[in-house]
Point group: C2
Chain length 548, copies 2
């Protein structure tokens, strides 16, 4: 027997309709590539999204076809989010930080029919345009007056504002199966070709509800949200959708992600909540601390993508009064899986206890379930403190990659059937708080035991002279692998190998102590701002450890 409530599909367009209708006056502020600060509202954004949907229809974009973007965080990118998904096509956000060859592979694999790009990426687009035969339309995200002379290199280049102006703002968002694809984002795996994760309208809407909950991102109409996390990276963790659902003000930083630009935007737009990966906050923290500044409105920031070093938690919390909410997720999980919101039982924790808890990635948001399993696939009970691979499942977790590349990513063994193996190594404590100890491929295997590289990096990062630290396993004749610490010093700061190793005293088991330290000028970062330890391992493959 079926219930007798209205059947309404969960569609991305409904978010925009709600925002226009119930939060029409709320602002969306964008730092543009053109250099200025642009202000619009949900009402205007909705009208322009409908114009864009008419334009895309006129250009011949069909239901389910992919429309690609190469763009910073901004209102035009957001219009593409809603126009493309809303009309039933699939928004494909390309990551401009990828190597051009990878971009070519991805755009071809996705069969992108149109590509919308910010002017920043004109050289990149000019370089690849001739090799992307399937792309029928190239659109520069600007007004015609801003088109540079060399734009003529791209035959038939269209101008976004012309497109918008040429169409009226009446468009009825179609109704269709909520399981239809809405957007596509490729993972930048460290080995092999990137693989596409194809989100549905249903998965996006459910993720949006869950993301806005008080113990997740806790977003309300009174918030002013600045997503530093790019809209080309897992849909900016869902924040453009959360904005529409809640009526929060959205502040988009465009290409200006340096500490000074971000700080000024936080202040001028009275931002209350931000979100990004740890590496983007380094510059902001340095600028704010270096100039003795404070935040007048920012109270919370969400950090995920990589583990947030405890030193950064304290720098924000104790130094600046900004509570860091540690979160965990992946492209394959839309991305939110866990957030480190406190439980009532934690009310009595002292400061050190609170920070120790905040360093964990947190507990499952309702919708996602998780477990940690041993090598045999058996679940390790919560509170066992044993580390194992983290498995997750839920209605916004991947079932299979786009075009089924690589076969089913899910576990097929009896114990893990139907679960997605994250590739993360983690523990789960008795309260259900998950703590990532490593990526499974980054784990250092010493004498048959695992050493978690993240703990070692966090201790190194706490040293005042250290700007960035990576710990990798290098081959060792007796122990198979031993940890090597690779460190970037802060500008002008000094620290010796022995001083740094001495700072580990009493904080870890003795056999976890890195065998050596090397100082480098830079650690390679991937397209999503994560340290590329595979490159470091390659670089230090033949490194002679003193103990070897």
């Amino acid at each position: 027997m079926l219930g007798q409530m209205m059947q309404q599909p969960l569609l991305v367009s409904s978010l925009l309709v709600h925002a226009e209708r119930h939060h029409g006056e709320r602002e969306i502020v964008s730092r543009r590539v053109e250099g200025d600060l642009h202000r619009t509202t949900y009402r205007e954004l909705a009208a322009r999204s409908r114009r864009l949907a008419n334009a895309l229809t006129k250009l011949g974009v069909q239901r389910s076809e992919r429309v690609a973007t190469l763009a910073w965080n901004g209102y035009r990118h957001m219009e593409l989010y809603f126009a493309v998904s809303g009309m039933g096509a699939v928004l494909h956000t390309l990551n401009p930080r990828l190597h051009p060859e990878q971009l070519l592979y991805i755009a071809e694999h996705a069969e992108d029919q149109a590509l919308f790009f910010d002017l920043t990426f004109l050289p990149l687009v000019a370089a690849v345009a001739g090799r992307l035969q399937k792309v029928r339309h190239w659109v520069a995200l600007c007004a015609r007056a801003h088109l540079p002379a060399d734009a003529a290199k791209i035959p038939g280049l269209l101008c976004y504002e012309d497109l918008i102006d040429a169409h009226h703002d009446r468009f009825d968002w179609p109704e269709f199966d909520e399981n239809s694809a809405s957007s596509l984002c490729y993972t930048s795996g460290t080995t092999g070709n990137p693989k596409g994760v194809l989100y549905s309208h249903r998965s996006t809407l459910l993720h949006t509800y869950a993301a806005a909950l008080p113990d997740a991102l806790n977003c309300s109409a009174t918030d002013s949200i600045l997503p530093v996390v790019p809209m080309f990276h897992v849909n900016a963790w869902g924040l453009p959708y959360v904005g529409c659902m809640t009526g929060a003000k959205l502040v988009f930083p465009g290409p200006a992600l340096d500490g000074k630009s971000l700080y000024e935007l936080f202040e001028s737009e009275q931002v209350t909540l931000s979100a990004g990966v740890p590496t983007v906050w380094q510059g902001l923290l340095a600028y704010v601390q270096g100039n003795g500044l404070k935040f007048s409105s920012m109270r919370r920031t969400v950090i995920g993508g990589s583990a947030c070093p405890p030193a950064m938690l304290r720098a924000f919390g104790e130094g600046l009064g900004v509570h860091v909410l540690h979160a965990w997720g992946m492209t394959e999980t839309s991305p939110l899986g866990t957030t480190c919101a406190f439980k009532a039982a934690h009310a009595g924790l002292d400061k050190d206890g609170r920070y120790a808890l905040m360093a964990k990635q947190g507990r499952a948001i309702f919708g996602v379930d998780m477990k940690v399993v041993d090598d045999a696939g058996q679940e390790l009970p919560f509170g066992s403190e044993q580390q194992g691979e983290l498995l997750v499942r839920g209605p916004w977790v991947i079932e299979s990659y786009f075009k089924d590349v690589g076969g089913s990513p899910l576990r097929s063994d009896a114990a893990g059937r139907g679960w997605f193996p994250t590739g993360d190594v983690a523990t789960i404590d008795a309260d259900g708080y998950m703590h990532i100890t490593d990526r499974s491929k980054d784990v250092i295997k010493s004498g048959g035991e695992w050493i978690g590289s993240i703990d070692l990096e966090n201790i190194a990062m706490a040293h005042p002279a250290v700007a960035m630290a990576a710990c990798i396993g290098v081959p060792h004749p007796k122990w198979d692998e031993r940890p090597l610490l690779v460190v970037v010093k802060k500008p002008g700061a000094e620290v010796t190998r022995d001083e740094l190793l001495a700072s580990f005293g009493g904080k870890i088991a003795k056999w976890w102590l890195p065998d050596d330290v090397v100082f480098v000028d830079a650690i390679p970062l991937g397209a999503t701002g994560k340290m590329q330890k595979n490159k470091l391992r390659e670089q230090f493959r033949d490194y002679q450890l003193p103990s070897a």
Copy 2:
């Protein structure tokens, strides 16, 4: 093209699984009919729910069959919520405040197979049991030791704790279509037979996500929630489900709803959030104010079901530091439709401005859309200040009544097709805040114009001598109807007709002023605590107004 995320149905059982797994230690505290305060946890509740599901299976309860309850708010009732819906049967919550003849009608119409009841209702059950042939199992919600001697009047009566004890706690919640029926609640209409609203697992889960959002009930794991609103009334506004989703502590008051009992429970369990209809708060406010008490932990309460008088908003807010969140909903809307959460634009309001806003029922929660239409069915624009009938739609709004009684409740005219007409008369302001001015059947029609009875009642309620006020239209030879104010004075308080009418001065248009005042000992309340104005209209049908 479909997205490639996991297909997981939205099921009520997943709420319990989440609560057990991620909030297993969190408490559920219940004042029992037995008189004591009972403490359990989500972990224990989940295990007992599985035992109960085994017991129901053994009793022969099949998928989709209705299992009825006649019970107060408590942990056993909550176990029924999850065991019955979780196994795929339908939880039917009967309202014990209904007349026995209505109860009989409802239980027969629903074809209830089993009835679980608190001992409070033994006399009621004993009176109707012989006439309910389809009910195969009668279960008293207690331990055998608490069964009174006269329980033997009900042949084959089972004892709940025996049932639980006799079965093991291993039960795999089945997976099925999320559109399956999960629970059933009858509306107690003022005319005609009650009609059933049949919720689905999908509608329940989506409503739960929306209800927990920061601008809705704003529930987190650190909350301690006491639902005064009964679990037999639209699933206690969804709070048992919200508890599981968020890991909030739940505090159930059982049958003890007097001011003293409630206050003591608020304090002893450090309740942070409560919810109920305006009439239940009268007793609590009188007790707290009369004894010069304060709340040490309670900061918010949700008031809905009927319009909350502005005087009550201020009594809670100014006197006790408890923020009242005004909300609107109906049995047909699961129930949450709107909540009166502020927007950023309201930050500059002064105190009077804030209270004026808080007196509105609020703005649409994402998922529900609403509009106000004129007599011709045309939408009145937001901000027009014109009143009209409120229409709503959304995935947790009714499509049709159980067994399609009364035909489709939805509008069939072109302008309103697919919308549910609420029977409420309302305005919507420019910011999207809806304000109920009346029930359409309670509107007073004077000289072709509408007079909203709620505004008049609110003014009367603000007088210190008034405990309760109802304003009804009575026949008038010239104007068709004119308003008559029916008032219950506070114990020991005095006020005259003329004094009371004088208090309306300057607050309303002159032609809205009630023509007369009658003082009565009591105003009849319906089964959900709302004033039964139809009975008052009947009673005063021949009342001679001085102007007539």
